[in-house]
Symmetry: D2
Amino acid sequence: MNGDSGLAELTAATAEFAAAREWQPWHTPKNLVMALSGEVGELTALFQWLTPEESAVVMRDETVAADVRDEIADVMLYLVQLARVLDVDLVEVATAKLARNEHRFPALPR
Amino acid sequence: MNGDSGLAELTAATAEFAAAREWQPWHTPKNLVMALSGEVGELTALFQWLTPEESAVVMRDETVAADVRDEIADVMLYLVQLARVLDVDLVEVATAKLARNEHRFPALPR
Amino acid sequence: MNGDSGLAELTAATAEFAAAREWQPWHTPKNLVMALSGEVGELTALFQWLTPEESAVVMRDETVAADVRDEIADVMLYLVQLARVLDVDLVEVATAKLARNEHRFPALPR
Amino acid sequence: MNGDSGLAELTAATAEFAAAREWQPWHTPKNLVMALSGEVGELTALFQWLTPEESAVVMRDETVAADVRDEIADVMLYLVQLARVLDVDLVEVATAKLARNEHRFPALPR
């Protein structure tokens, strides 16, 4: 799968998914922020007792890796939905912010 | 800007950004999860006192809208970096999870 | 039970609990902050789809109320443990902060 | 200060504080959970780049220690307020949960 070509499709798919279940009334920005926060909490729980070294090789254990991918997926799904209802382009705002950070945190001299 | 064509570029740009500052030692998965969580906390703070109705029109106020876009950008930047160091394709895992959710939560009959 | 007389006892009990399981090496401040954050995520998930009005009467449903109490308990347990390992008196710092807030946010005139 | 005798007083003081500013309409359980989550995010940010070893001695730096105490105070204040509006006794539920955990996670043999 091409991760690049899929973000617009994914965004549209989340809209169709919510509409097919008539979940739109619950998908206020406030509620989606909470849902995003809850999923980040579940992701955090997977890493809370790991040493930095263990966290660096967390994907070597296929069971844990599956859990990590699952929680990252949930976080991404709510972030995509939040951005959609707020009409925010995730890649555009992140790219612009990274550009601003280039100035805030100058690179080391080579 | 094309949000779709930019995710791979954004991912690469975050890698270059961290490398140019020699920040990689701090960018363990564990630390990036914490950074993601901290940014979601800042996003949450923007919505905590809003009614559902106020949250639905939060982008009408240009000052607040700029803050919301800024925090969403920070969340996206750390999510992209976390996915990069874990070698997870954000769109792929989210698309796959959405497909699984189609079965877990059947759509309403038409 | 007297909630007041129990905070010092609770704090001591969490220390004994961790020691009896030899969990102290995992209970660094960093890890306990993550554990606290993860539990707040679970608490958040209980409230994410509720309207403000529903959230105000959430304790009327005994099943949900039990879940809420359980998650609040987990949050409190990790906050108590974090404060203990950092040698922070929870009531003292919160009382002092509230006093500072009295000045930051003046009360309405009567 | 006696941390034990102060929790009931602190709880009452937060009620008076909110009433004097007529903030009660905003202090729904849902909103207080979000506020708690936002403060935990700020606390998380203080620890995100620290090694476990650095986090263990974080209070040796008086400036950082003051920030840590300040964020823990904010977390405690919102937790106390959430518990108050939900009529939950923080020490009671945490003590009861710890007792249940004694059974879920048996202590090591001596």
